[in-house]
């Protein structure tokens, strides 16, 4: 190890502390020797300890010492530096006899304290107790002669003089402690001892002429010439600074968007409030379906009941026919009567597929093949809890092409999920009113080693495509839940956390790297 290199890393604080360590071994001594603040010395010692210049032992695990000091109760004896029993003894040496009442009054003693004194005087055979109407103390021969202080009295005097005394076998008194006159306090004392490395370093010369921060002035005056820069401890932890960043949901949206753009898809945008016509009727959802009910779907409230939206006349006619009889699609339809008023109800979109329906209504044959996607919030009238959100993102898309088929749907999904980090995709039979065949999308979770459901897919029914497009054409479609991907990536258990916007969480969260 290059000693000089180590010395070079010393901070100005360390440079001041290190030289005194030859003879100063406690914090107090070091502070005294350097004239530095405690916090400065501590920081210097911490760094020196990190560099293994001082022994970790005495610094990190300081030796604890017990000190004895006076309690608040004992303060009134502090001035005379003696215990009340001495005063009683002296009184009795003078008067030979005294009643408890007189002594208590004379010395202003409490009952408890007086009884303790009585006990010790009697134990030492300094007094007799005479029992009359009042307790009377009479001094003995031994008492009359006693002039030397007891061990406790010596200790007390010492504490009074010095403020506190280190506890030793000699300097301790259970009796005074019980009487509540003294208390014991532990004090940690760091003993700073140089390591062999420190010893070696102490023989080296420490220059105070190293440069710390490079300043513009130094550059101007060229003061840096022929001087050394202090070496930094580059491994030291640094406090974090906060950067600006996108919300992790938006980061994920950007990544996902990139994938669909790379696959040649066009991004679409749409309303979040729509008529039931586009959200349900155009997608061949029967009018008696439960999605129309208040408990599942958000409807917009108006001055008189639900606000009504506009629906396009031409398409409405075709949708009516397809619902009632199947129209010209070759379908049997749902039967019953299709009610246009019901289709005018305004709701918060229940799925992003409505945008696909709207898109189909504007497509012409020459636009094909057509591939589009959208990432948007959809809504469910649900109470908010750890596994339910009332609004969440769906990633949906369609491909409109005369040749497109179910295997192509699987092909696109496989490409997408491969880029999202899920190498295997499976579809399983399912049911959606507007697709046939219908499928649920599963991906194989590479860590959990199990199949996880991530969305729904299928081919739009002819009852959906023919009235909207005006011609027969297969359309493949899918909808993927974004939150499912997010909870997995960020290991989030409670869905509410995604939109909690806890600033610490947002500041600390890793980037969405897919």
């Amino acid at each position: 190890m290059d000693l000089k290199k180590i010395l070079n890393t010393f901070h100005p604080f360390e440079r001041r502390v290190f030289p005194v360590l030859k003879h100063a071994h406690t914090l107090e001594e070091i502070m005294k020797a350097t004239g530095m603040q405690e916090i400065e010395v501590m920081r210097a010692l911490q760094w020196l300890s990190n560099k293994e210049v001082i022994k970790k032992e005495g610094f990190i695990n300081p030796k604890t010492t017990t000190f004895i000091s006076l309690t608040q109760k004992a303060e009134r004896y502090q001035k005379e530096k003696r215990l009340p029993e001495r005063k009683i003894l002296e009184y009795l040496q003078k008067h030979h006899k005294a009643t408890k009442t007189i002594l208590k009054k004379e010395l202003n003693l409490e009952e408890e304290e007086f009884n303790a004194i009585l006990g010790i005087l009697k134990k030492e055979n300094y007094i007799h107790i005479l029992k009359n109407s009042d307790i009377e103390l009479q001094i003995t021969e031994k008492g009359l002669e006693n002039k030397t202080l007891s061990q406790d009295e010596h200790l007390f005097e010492k504490i009074c003089g010095e403020g506190s005394v280190q506890k030793t076998s000699e300097h301790s008194s259970e009796f005074l402690k019980r009487r509540g006159l003294i208390e014991e306090k532990e004090k940690a004392e760091r003993i700073i001892i140089l390591t062999p490395l420190g010893e070696k370093l102490s023989k080296e010369k420490i220059s105070n002429e190293v440069l710390d921060k490079l300043t513009p002035e130094m550059l101007k005056t060229k003061a840096w010439r022929e001087k050394e820069f202090r070496r930094f401890d580059i491994k030291v932890e640094v406090p974090r600074i906060y950067r600006g960043k996108r919300h992790f949901v938006d980061q994920a949206i950007q990544s996902i968007k990139r994938i669909w753009l790379d696959l040649g898809f066009k991004e679409l945008e749409g309303n979040l409030v729509e008529t039931a016509f586009w959200d349900l009727d155009a997608l061949f959802v029967p009018q008696d379906h439960s999605a129309r009910e208040m408990q599942d779907t958000f409807f917009v409230k108006g001055k008189t009941g639900i606000l009504k939206g506009d629906i396009p006349e031409q398409i409405a006619k075709k949708i009516k026919a397809v619902h009632e009889t199947g129209g010209d699609t070759g379908s049997a339809g749902w039967g019953g009567v299709w009610n246009k008023e019901k289709a005018k109800e305004l709701l918060l979109i229940t799925h992003d597929t409505y945008l696909s329906a709207k898109t189909l209504a504007h497509l012409k044959k020459e636009d094909l093949p057509f591939k589009s996607f959208q990432i948007m919030k959809v809504f469910r009238n649900e109470a908010l809890d750890w596994k339910h959100l009332f609004e969440f993102y769906q990633v949906g898309g369609i491909v409109v092409d005369q040749d497109v088929n179910l295997r192509n749907l699987l092909g696109y999904l496989k490409q997408f999920f491969k880029k999202m980090g899920y190498p295997d995709v499976q579809i399983r039979p399912s049911f959606f009113g507007y697709t046939e065949p219908s499928a649920e999308i599963f991906v194989f979770h590479p860590i959990k080693k199990e199949w996880v459901e991530v969305g729904g897919a299928g081919m739009f029914r002819p009852e959906v495509t023919k009235p909207l497009l005006g011609f027969e054409c297969p359309v493949i479609a899918w909808g993927i839940g974004l939150e499912r991907v997010l909870t997995d990536y960020y290991k989030i258990k409670d869905l509410r956390e995604i939109y909690k916007n806890d600033l610490r969480q947002l500041r600390d969260m890793k980037e969405f790297m897919k």
Partner: protein, 549 residues
């Protein structure tokens, strides 16, 4: 989705196979039925709404027997003539116009079988029957009633009988007001002046559909061996299919089906009609949709796995399948029979060009630009409350309310972005300042010009909270954005109740106000329990984008 429970032992006995739990799951899943739980004795399954014929053990076994090749193709059921008659009175036209009826005999109900059939009835009511509105099913022990039956509608006060689960005779009005089933389904008869009833030849009321059966004449027990079944509802087709489904399921359980003659005064009809539905099949069409090249022989094999018959270009579909609206539905059956898991993914090579929405390109650039100013992006809900958007902001804007919302804290569509941001900062006061954040998103306002009467635009809110955050700081951000976009803009003095007077300005671009910027009023900060000064701006990005074009 409907959850059903079936008995594992009898299920496996019927399949004549000893299957491990994992094998049961795998096989059932292939039909689109998901397995929720398997115990020693029971299977809990989720059945998709398009396959109500799988809502019973007998139905599921029937489908699996075909699927596994144990009993392939169309299942044929004999329908014997009973000679029993049902008169349909024209009075039902206005309340519940259709019915289809049958008898089933030689039943041998054990306790489990009764449960199974009750479960099927209940699940059919909830799913295919649309909570009994579209179709409701009634079943009556034949030994308690006398044919012929009359289906008619009567004034509520004329209807009196003892309903199931009641200990006394009640009037129809009492049933709807007091009986549990009556209360639950009263809304289905809400607008009816007369209520539908089935009455037998003894003039006994059998039931008040779709509410409840009579205790005396409409209670099926383990001892019942012969039943009269009716389905009633609002769609003739649905009522008949539902009857077909019930009687064939009973036949699978060992029953014999007998038809009844329906007469509505104009025409006579015999139900059930179990004649298979014949549909022409275009193999080329099916292969195109699936992306397969199945030959006719393979198609025939796959259709038979799904319980259909195929002969010379025609498919014969069971009369109980409710989900066969179109030829495409056969494509799904063929794909399921082939196995979705056997389909090979294929990416078409038709070239298309990816295209990001120009507005989203703009919005994203702007957001990334704000990140450059070390701002943190938030993502907030579109739903909020009037308290947040108006009251706490000391504001009085127009609101758009939602009907019948599950969470009262989220019953309003947001009209601007800043309140949501303030709310978030109010919840984060324990964290380090400065807190410099932004949030962009769709906001809503009433507009008669729009198809939905609501205009949706994207707005941006930026908020700086902390010691020393003031008008200068927020205007620096604004200026930085506008410079980056090379937009000519200006600020005009304005008043806004959420901001400190004299420290708020309207942002003008091309003479249009597209937002405002200022220092938040301490009264507003206080409402959100924020104890740091705050400066903020709100910009209409949709409008700003227009001026860029």
């Amino acid at each position: 989705m409907a959850a059903i429970i079936i008995q594992k032992k009898s299920f496996l006995d019927h399949l004549k196979k000893a299957l491990a739990d994992s094998e049961i799951t795998a096989i059932i899943q292939k039909l689109g039925v998901s397995v929720e739980q398997i115990t020693h004795t029971e299977l809990t399954l989720e059945v998709l709404p398009n396959r109500p014929d799988l809502l019973s053990e007998a139905g599921l076994v029937r489908a699996l027997q075909a699927f596994l090749g144990i009993k392939k193709g169309l299942r044929k059921y004999a329908v014997r003539k009973s000679g029993g008659k049902v008169f349909i009175d024209p009075s039902v036209k206005d309340v519940r116009p259709y019915t289809a009826c049958a008898l089933v005999k030689k039943l041998n109900f054990g306790n489990e079988k009764i449960k199974e059939i009750m479960q099927l009835q209940e699940k059919l009511h909830a799913t295919f029957g649309r909570n009994r509105n579209k179709v409701a099913i009634g079943m009556y022990p034949l030994d308690k009633i006398k044919l012929p039956i009359t289906y008619t509608a009567k004034a509520p006060q004329e209807i009196r009988f003892r309903p199931l689960e009641a200990n006394r005779e009640m009037s129809a009005t009492e049933i709807l007001e007091e009986h549990p089933a009556g209360k639950a389904y009263a809304y289905l008869l809400q607008e009816a002046k007369k209520y539908p009833v089935f009455i037998d030849a003894n003039k006994n009321i059998l039931s008040l559909p779709p509410i409840i059966n009579s205790h005396e004449t409409g209670r099926v027990t383990e001892k019942t061996t012969e039943v009269f079944i009716e389905c009633s509802g609002h769609q003739s087709g649905a009522v008949k299919t539902c009857l077909n489904l019930i009687v064939t399921t009973l036949a699978e359980m060992g029953g014999e089906i007998y038809s009844m003659e329906l007469n509505d005064g104009k025409k006579k009809e015999t139900t059930p009609d179990l004649t298979p539905v014949k549909r022409k099949l275009n193999i080329k069409y099916l292969n195109q949709r699936i992306g397969a090249s199945f030959k006719e022989k393979e198609i025939k094999f796959l259709l038979e796995k799904m319980g259909h018959d195929y002969n010379a270009g025609n498919v014969f579909i069971s009369a109980y399948r409710t989900d066969m609206l179109h030829e495409i539905d056969l494509a799904e059956d063929i794909a399921i029979a082939y196995g979705y898991e056997n389909l090979k993914p294929e990416l078409p090579n038709a070239a298309t060009v990816g295209e990001e929405s120009p507005f989203e390109v703009f919005r994203n650039k702007l957001c990334n630009l704000l990140v450059g100013f070390r701002l943190l992006e938030l993502n907030t809900y579109h739903l909020t409350s009037e308290e947040v958007v108006n009251e706490k902001m000391n504001h009085n804007g127009e609101i758009i309310e939602l009907a019948n919302v599950a969470n009262q804290e989220f019953n309003v569509l947001r009209s601007w972005m800043l309140p949501g941001v303030m709310q978030i900062l109010g919840e984060n006061t324990r964290y380090e300042y400065p807190q410099r954040v932004f949030c962009s998103g769709i906001v809503f306002k009433k507009d008669e010009q729009e198809e939905t009467r609501i205009k949706e635009q994207t707005k941006l809110a930026v908020a700086l909270a902390g010691k020393g955050e003031d008008f200068t700081k927020i205007k620096q951000i604004l200026a930085g954005m506008m410079d980056a976009l090379a937009v000519i803009w200006s600020i005009k003095e304005t008043e806004h109740p959420s901001f400190i007077e004299g420290r708020v300005g309207a942002v003008l671009v091309d003479g249009n106000e597209i937002g405002f910027v200022g220092e938040i009023h301490p009264r507003v900060l206080d409402n959100f329990k924020i104890e740091m000064p705050m400066a903020a701006l709100e910009l209409n990005l949709s409008e700003l984008f227009k001026t860029l074009k």
